[in-house]
């Protein structure tokens, strides 16, 4: 008898139960705690916060645990939760020049004010599996004296300021500061977009997609001759200016990674030759994403800089409509849902067309 689609409700419940069991894995193995994920899978937490567009380490750790380590699924959980949150205030722009720097490097100058600070980076590690990590050490053995450099206390001015002094770098215009900042989570995107909405879309965008697009600009698809002017990572304070007070109030500190890409520009009719910029920012330590974002941001400024638009990374509809991994993942995976009605319609048509052809 015809039962293939019956019992959907029971099937869903059984699938959920099985999923919960799979998530937990072997009960003989101790369960992961949220602080463990936060502390020891911190870069996963950073990515989930960035693309989930919500700065909350504990919730991001929870999402990673619930998603069994599938980061896009974890980003989804965080985003769905984020939608339900009220908006209490809009912060003032964070000032990354006043960052408590943990890492700050420039590829354009040998030395920079405050010095090059490597910080916790994979960059010069040899990617050899460290078998000593196979065994978990007892707590006491692990307590090693901190080896890292003390945090730079004096604010480190951004490297880009040095170039600015000579007028070699384009001046970043804040635009109309009274104009409301676009928010694509409230208003649908309309094209052509402004840079605020573009940067927001890229900041929420999928790291892998932006990485590939940024890479494509380096291989000639919209080449813009980038230099990593500065990459800095550390803590910045978040301030809000309440209506009833004449001064801003510090509400907390967040870790961010910022990338200022400096790009060659031959000049146009109205502008002398100078360096232009691409900008990238992520929550936590997200250097790869911040750099890719800066490359794509610069590529998307082609219209404003009067450059020819001929590559995918320069095409804002292409980039911005496809960079969101929740939209992409959902639509690709919805192909799993039943499509029998459409398929049946195609079958009927195909049979009719074949019959007609056979009859000819």
């Amino acid at each position: 008898m015809y039962v293939s689609v019956k019992g959907g409700e029971r099937a869903i419940e059984a699938a959920h139960a099985l999923l919960a069991e799979e998530r937990r894995g072997d009960p003989q193995i101790r369960e992961l705690t949220l602080p463990q994920i936060d502390q020891q899978l911190s870069l996963a937490v950073d990515r989930v916060m960035s693309e989930g567009a919500l700065y909350d380490r504990e919730l991001a750790a929870l999402a990673i645990k619930q998603a069994r380590g599938d980061l896009i699924e974890a980003i989804f959980l965080l985003r769905a939760y984020r939608t339900t949150l009220p908006r209490l205030a809009t912060s003032l722009p964070v000032d990354t020049a006043r960052m408590a720097v943990r890492r700050c490097i420039s590829a354009t100058f040998k030395d920079i004010p405050g010095g090059q600070v490597l910080g916790p980076t994979f960059d010069y590690t040899h990617r050899l599996l460290d078998f000593s990590l196979c065994e978990t050490k007892a707590m006491q053995q692990e307590q090693i004296a901190p080896q890292g450099e003390p945090r730079a206390t004096a604010p480190m001015p951004p490297v880009t300021q040095l170039l600015n002094a000579e007028g070699l770098l384009e001046v970043e215009s804040p635009g109309d500061e009274t104009a409301p900042i676009g928010d694509l989570t409230r208003e649908p995107m309309t094209f052509p977009t402004e840079r605020d909405v573009r940067l927001q879309a890229l900041a929420r965008g999928d790291e892998g997609f932006l990485l590939a697009l940024g890479y494509s600009t380096q291989r000639g698809y919209g080449r813009n001759h980038p230099f990593a002017g500065e990459i800095r990572m550390g803590a910045v304070t978040v301030e809000v200016q309440p209506d009833e007070l004449p001064f801003a109030v510090e509400i907390g500190e967040i870790a961010v990674t910022e990338c200022q890409m400096v790009n060659q520009f031959k000049g146009s009719k109205t502008t002398p030759p100078q360096f232009t910029r691409g900008y990238g920012l992520t929550f936590g330590h997200g250097e790869r994403k911040a750099m890719a974002m800066a490359l794509v941001d610069r590529a998307l400024r082609c219209r404003e800089l009067d450059e020819e638009v001929d590559s995918p990374a320069q095409d804002e509809e292409f980039v911005l409509y496809h960079c969101d991994n929740l939209e992409a993942s959902g639509f690709v995976q919805h192909l799993k849902l039943p499509h029998y009605v459409d398929f049946q319609s195609e079958l009927v048509m195909l049979r009719a067309m074949r019959a007609e052809r056979a009859g000819q």
Partner: protein, 287 residues
């Protein structure tokens, strides 16, 4: 209802969001077939699972509504079950599988076989709202084309189909013109269902969540499937009838019943089929 969850707002969305969506719906009703951009939210289901339809339903549903949810015409497909449970949980509304009892019907890929009545609302889940999308990938261009009623490319495409295949080779999501003005995608319903849209007494709302668009066909509005005088629009037909209820007038799904490829045809609309089966049994009992 006892299983309602009160830790979220009624029907999940906050009231400000519902108001924004209702405004978009009002605009959509005022300009039949026009795609209204709206600030689509992230829902707790993935895009592609009906987030647009769910947002429309969440914005218009009230505590007295009776909700029916179908996917592929059936109430018991997994995603229909999941969406129905979502609203039973977040809004505590009554649900039904009977077309005539529902005040609100959310659907994916079908229009119910039983004619809808005035006062009913049909909410479609829409994957790609733009009918010109396969002809022009750019939103900036397609919006201009709609504004100028520049629909020549669509007719050229249909003509090319006829030139190549001898017929218009579109079996579902068949383009329509609404109220003699906007060309509209009816969502991936089979073209079999297209005639049901025309002059329908019910309000038809379309929600595309990922693409952040809402559009509408108000009650008793002309909806014409695109065609040519010498190649008029026609719907699918089957030589078989439904193996369960004997219907000859419904859309049939093909079910493969054995490894040898034996197959049977049954109604895709489960409510229609069950009603007919029950009526048939009553007739037999009376005889």
């Amino acid at each position: 209802m006892s299983d309602a969850d009160h830790s979220y707002n009624f029907a999940y969305l906050d009231e400000q969001t519902k108001r924004m969506i209702r405004r978009a719906i009002l605009k959509a009703v005022a300009i039949p077939g026009y795609q209204v951009p709206f600030g689509g939210r992230e829902m707790p289901m993935p895009h592609g699972w009906g987030t647009g339809g769910i947002q429309v339903t969440a914005s218009i549903i009230g505590p007295d509504d009776v909700l029916k949810v179908i996917d592929q015409g059936a109430d018991d497909t997994t995603n229909a079950v999941s969406i129905r449970r979502f609203f039973a949980k977040t809004a505590g509304v009554a649900t039904t599988t009977r077309t005539e009892e529902a005040s609100l019907i959310q659907t994916r890929h079908r229009i119910p076989e039983k004619p809808l009545k005035a006062g009913q609302i049909l909410v479609y889940q829409v994957p790609i709202p733009e009918p010109l999308r396969w002809l022009e990938p750019r939103e900036t261009e397609t919006r201009k084309m709609h504004a100028l009623s520049e629909y020549g490319v669509m007719h050229v495409r249909l003509y090319e189909d006829i030139a190549t295949h001898g017929r218009i080779a579109t079996a579902y999501d068949y383009p329509v013109q609404v109220n003699d003005r906007y060309i509209m995608r009816p969502s991936p319903i089979p073209k079999f269902d297209n005639p049901k849209m025309d002059m329908n007494p019910a309000l038809q709302l379309f929600g595309a969540g990922r693409e952040k668009r809402i559009y509408a066909v108000p009650p008793y509005t002309k909806v014409k499937s695109l065609d040519f005088e010498d190649h008029p629009f026609e719907v699918q037909s089957w030589t078989q009838c439904c193996a369960l209820c004997g219907a000859k007038d419904s859309f049939l799904d093909e079910i493969i019943t054995s490894d040898q490829g034996d197959r049977m045809f049954v109604c895709s609309d489960s409510d229609y089929c069950q009603d007919r089966q029950a009526a048939g049994q009553r007739r037999e009992a009376a005889e």
